[in-house]
Symmetry: C2
Subunit: 316 residues, 2 copies
């Protein structure tokens, strides 16, 4: 569920544009005004504002904002102002080009979204980069990570509820044999995780737990420092319980010495209109502190105000 | 260009259905009537006929036809009556389940179609089989063929005309090094062929030819009996000049002792509304015999009449 608070009576796109134009023009920038508009409009409304702004002032709203804003606040506002799938295409491109084995962004996009949404990201990627997402992922990664990530971002998983129980049993056996044998980079393991439907995988993981007495993600923790194992766990978490996955990303970003603003901005801008309500509940549950308070403690200024508005903080 | 001849005045779907119902009911079947209708309607018209037939007689037209027709004629009419992407999904499923290393059907579907069409096939596959295409391909293939085929059917290549010439040069070098070193199953070679856009690959192959003095497909003929090499050549031909590729499939199907009706039916039903005109021209050019005459010589009865009608034979 979305945490973005939309006013009961929304000004017309033309009125919003007029206010935004005022906020970015003349001496100084009115950041509060920008937040009060953009952080309280849904994706369709923001898209409409961007179109109207361009038609009225012959300038892309993002360009106007870019000139005036700086640092983490700028990055957050720009990401937020993009169309959701275009935003994910941009994040995927960043992740592919500067790929390193601890980067989880491609996994988030491929596994914590529906098949249809992943396809919309792939289409947006074509438009933005004149290339395909899998093409860039394949060109910038290598070895076992390449096998895993290219298959993940190329998949178009079946989304129905149908489950083949005998397949779940036989594939739970395969997974267990590979994991116990420490050959978790085996192509059969990659095949199962990258092609089966979420419902089918869920049945497989349940059978794994019943049959072998441990959750598969526990068994994938044999070496906590191994990035490949950690990627496999992220895949399973993103598919099974994205809110828990993203709670952890936020928790680590906040608890880190110096805060990981990149991760914080990414999760909040990409999940605010998806499941931020559930992520907030999960955060409170896991940390005994509301996410709002943690953000207030860890960030400052316009950036803080903007994030608080996106997660539905009442006074923001 | 399509070779299907649509009459200048097409009867209403209701009238067509009435005639088809007559053709399949009572003593004997009127195959000529079936051909005169179905072989002379385009995909949208056939879809409409199938819907109207179901609404009128509470039976799927395909079931009615299945009960009355037999053998190669039955297979051809049933394939032809399907929605084009559903038909390809069915052929892909056949190919995946009974996969062997000389089967080229998955390559045809992945490479001789646009990215959008391949995606429509993947969607039709979900609906028909409650699974994904790549899931079945991955489960029924293995080793290097699996790497190649799963990547091919999962790809969503960029379709624009943009070409990166320096990339074309560097990747032509990579391809040449792998081919000359007889390591044509190398993952870099698979990556390039399965992810780059057709325009980009065309530039790469042109550079290959200029730089190394031979067409890449010639270099991929070092062992004519190697199925993997033959698959790589099929990929390149399907992307570069599908009409030549399909001309050859038809030629081999006809020249074979006993005719390969499966291949003949597949090519004619899947390409009649795409590029059969070009395939026919190519056939005449390569064999000094019109395709019509070759089909007349090699097939008989209703099956012959149906194929002739689909390839636009005038009296059919």
């Amino acid at each position: 569920m979305s945490t973005v608070i939309i006013p009961s009576s929304v000004p017309s796109p033309a009125e919003d544009c007029e206010q935004l134009r005022k906020a970015v023009q003349g001496w100084g920038t009115n950041e509060g005004l920008i937040i009060s508009i953009l952080a309280h409009r849904n994706a369709a409304q923001r898209k409409c504002i961007r179109q109207t702004y361009f038609e009225t002032y012959s300038e892309d709203l993002l360009k106007s904002l870019e000139k005036e804003l700086t640092s983490d606040f700028e990055r957050a506002v720009l990401l937020w102002s993009l169309d959701p799938y275009d935003r994910l295409a941009l994040l995927a491109n960043d992740a592919a080009r500067k790929w390193n084995s601890s980067n989880r962004v491609l996994i988030e996009i491929a596994c914590a979204r529906s098949s249809h949404e992943l396809f919309l990201v792939r289409q947006a990627y074509h438009v933005r980069y004149k290339k395909s997402l899998e093409e860039d992922v394949a060109a910038h990664t290598e070895g076992d990570f390449r096998k895993l990530l290219v298959a993940l971002v190329s998949s178009h998983r079946y989304e129905g509820p149908e489950v083949d129980m005998s397949l779940a049993k036989s594939e739970a056996q395969i997974l267990n044999a590979k994991i116990k044998g420490n050959i978790y980079k085996h192509e059969e393991l990659i095949r199962i995780l990258t092609t089966r439907s979420k419902a089918q995988l869920n049945a497989t993981f349940n059978h794994y737990n019943n049959e072998f007495g441990t959750a598969i993600n526990k068994d994938l923790k044999s070496d906590p420092k191994d990035d490949f194992l950690s990627a496999l766990r992220a895949i399973i978490r993103c598919m099974n319980c994205p809110e828990k996955y993203f709670e952890k990303v936020i928790r680590l970003a906040i608890n880190k010495m110096g805060t990981d603003e990149g991760a914080l901005t990414r999760v909040i801008t990409t999940r605010a209109e998806v499941d931020m309500k559930a992520i907030k509940d999960e955060y409170q549950q896991r940390n005994s502190v509301p996410l709002d308070s943690a953000i207030v403690k860890d960030t400052t200024g316009d950036y803080e105000d903007f994030l608080l508005a996106l997660i539905g903080h009442e006074s923001a």
